[in-house]
């Protein structure tokens, strides 16, 4: 089967700087690809090349069967794009702006009005529809950008930090929207919010200094964490004793202790790589009759994995 987005060996050099350096990946319909990476990693530059704004120094881009170099206009017609910072014409109102974008996208008359109504409802723009865009708050500007990107119901959606600057409710709404649209579209988003990867993405790519350092599912990403499958518990017993008992269990690499907000000791049982210590911990709790006030399994700490992956590369380079 062919992918909706095929990117091969994509590079972009700005003078001596290799902003993007041989990036390859594919996105199928139904996939939501999360683009992660530190500032200046090359996320936006990659998106600008896929959407036809920047000319690649090397490499090819194919979207829905259209090659970027050969048929850029057809390629662009398949994509909905939210550029970084959600630029929009300040002197226009969201309504006239959406009409403009819709007309360029080939929507006319009743169909255009219907699409605008639909999108405005989904993104909740009713209240600001007739206000000049330059006077909108940052979050509303971003929403106008999202609305513009999904207006023509594109097969491929590329959004550079779509939830940046949105309030928590709106973040939730936009994520829900992305999940809803995911079934029929190929979606790429970039984000600095790691939880977003778990919340909406089916796959994740971490890039740093223009190179892909990780590609896989969010679960695989979490799996890289030393905290993956760790068990955290609060016990109202002598912590030193409990700790000694837990460390002795099989599958356990270490036990860390931290006081919670109320001053009670919380212990985190860190597994040996690839192990699941929960059954052993539960067994110990029952056997010794500790009274446990809290017990849960950690998914893994993405921020730590992110730090590991992106700083290792820097160390390797220097």
């Amino acid at each position: 089967m062919s992918y909706a987005i095929e990117v091969k060996n994509l590079s972009k050099h700005f003078g001596a700087l290799r902003a993007v350096d041989g990036v390859s990946f594919n996105v199928a319909r139904g996939d939501v690809l999360g683009f992660l990476g530190p500032n200046g990693a090359g996320k936006s530059t990659t998106m600008k090349m896929i959407t036809g704004f920047l000319e690649p120094t090397a490499g090819t881009v194919n979207v829905c069967g259209f090659d970027l170099a050969a048929s850029p206009v057809m390629l662009k017609s398949k994509i909905g794009y939210l550029p970084e910072g959600a630029p929009a014409y300040g002197e226009m109102t969201p309504l006239s702006f959406l009409e403009f974008v819709g007309q360029i996208r080939g929507l006319r008359g009743a169909r255009l009005q219907e699409r605008i109504r639909d999108v405005v409802g989904k993104i909740h723009l009713e209240a600001v529809l007739h206000q000049r865009i330059e006077t909108l708050s940052k979050g509303y500007k971003r929403r106008v950008g999202v609305a513009q990107a999904i207006l023509h119901d594109p097969e491929v959606l590329i959004m550079d930090e779509p939830t940046d600057g949105l309030d928590p409710n709106q973040k939730h709404e936009v994520r829900t929207l992305i999940r809803e649209m995911a079934a029929t579209k190929a979606i790429v988003i970039s984000t600095h919010i790691l939880e977003e990867v778990n919340a909406v993405c089916t796959r994740a790519i971490i890039i740093a200094a223009g190179r892909i350092l990780f590609e896989g599912t969010p679960a695989e990403l979490e799996g890289r964490s030393r905290w993956h499958n760790a068990v955290t518990l609060s016990v109202s017993a002598d912590t030193a004793q409990v700790r000694a008992a837990l460390v002795a269990l099989p599958d356990v690499e270490a036990v860390e202790e931290r006081a919670d907000a109320a001053g009670r000791a919380r212990l985190t049982v860190i597994p040996r790589p690839g192990c699941v210590p929960l059954p052993a911990v539960q067994g110990a709790v029952q056997a010794r009759g500790w009274s446990v006030t809290e017990l849960h399994v950690e998914g893994g700490r993405l921020d730590e994995v992110f730090r590991d992956i992106t700083t290792q590369s820097r160390a390797a380079r220097s």
Partner: protein, 244 residues
């Protein structure tokens, strides 16, 4: 073609969405009045035509047209909307033409609003109105030349002030190359052919007959070529510099 029209309409509305349009039109009308009646000695000439009105258009356009053109691309680059525009399914020419035509149409509106001048000559005397229409068309054609230069220069920078200043300088060269000072300077030592070439590049030389109401094919071709050349340069500039 429909993309050109959509972009044209957006751009034209953008002019009128800010005070710029009104300020520009008022200044334009005010200055044409001053130039025509005081410097052009409209009454004193005691002739029923608009020659004194058209005579100063190159000099008026020198400052006013770059002011219209400077925002065309600089603003898009500054605010980042160029990224939005250039990732819509349009060609470079759609965008360049749509913007240029909008600016040109805006100039035409300003020019049309000088109609009281035309009413005045018709009231005072019995002018040849065909000549006057030809003069208006020629003036508009020349404005297109200035605009194409301004649009291209505006694409080279994010800074509207720089776009304005550089456009004025280039437009000035195009006017000045036809003045006596320059031609006398060259005719002293350069072959006549060179002098002719220099003067043939000048707006003044080509506007000379136009302002008298003679719309010569060669002058029309000159301005059309000039517009095409600068708009082509405009597409190249955007192609290569849109992201920097």
């Amino acid at each position: 073609m429909s993309n050109v029209l959509t972009i044209f309409k957006r751009e034209l509305r953008a002019y009128f969405a800010t005070p710029v349009a009104y300020v520009f039109i008022i200044i334009f009308l005010f200055l044409t009045g001053i130039f025509t009646f005081y410097l052009g000695a409209f009454y004193e000439r005691d002739q029923a035509d608009l020659e004194p009105f058209f005579r100063f258009h190159p000099w008026l356009y020198l400052f006013l047209i770059p002011a219209i053109a400077m925002r065309l691309w600089s603003e898009e680059r500054k605010t980042g909307t160029i990224e939005l525009l250039m990732t819509l399914p349009i060609t470079l020419w759609d965008a360049v033409l749509g913007k240029f035509l909008a600016a040109w149409c805006f100039t035409a509106i300003a020019l049309l609003l000088t109609f009281p001048m035309w009413i005045t000559v018709n009231y005072l005397g019995d002018p040849d109105n065909v000549v006057i229409v030809a003069g208006y068309l020629g003036s508009l054609l020349m404005a297109g030349g200035f605009l194409a230069i301004g649009s291209c220069i505006s694409a080279t920078t994010k800074n509207q002030v720089i776009a304005f200043v550089v456009s004025v300088v280039i437009c000035f060269c195009f006017i000045f190359s036809g003045t006596r000072i320059v031609l006398d300077f060259f005719s002293g030592w350069a072959p006549q052919a060179v002098v002719d070439v220099i003067s043939s590049f000048s707006f003044i030389a080509h506007f000379e007959s136009i302002k008298k109401g003679v719309l010569d094919v060669r002058d029309v071709v000159y301005f059309a070529t000039l517009i095409a050349f600068w708009l082509y340069a405009n597409t190249l500039v955007i192609q290569n510099r849109k992201a920097s």
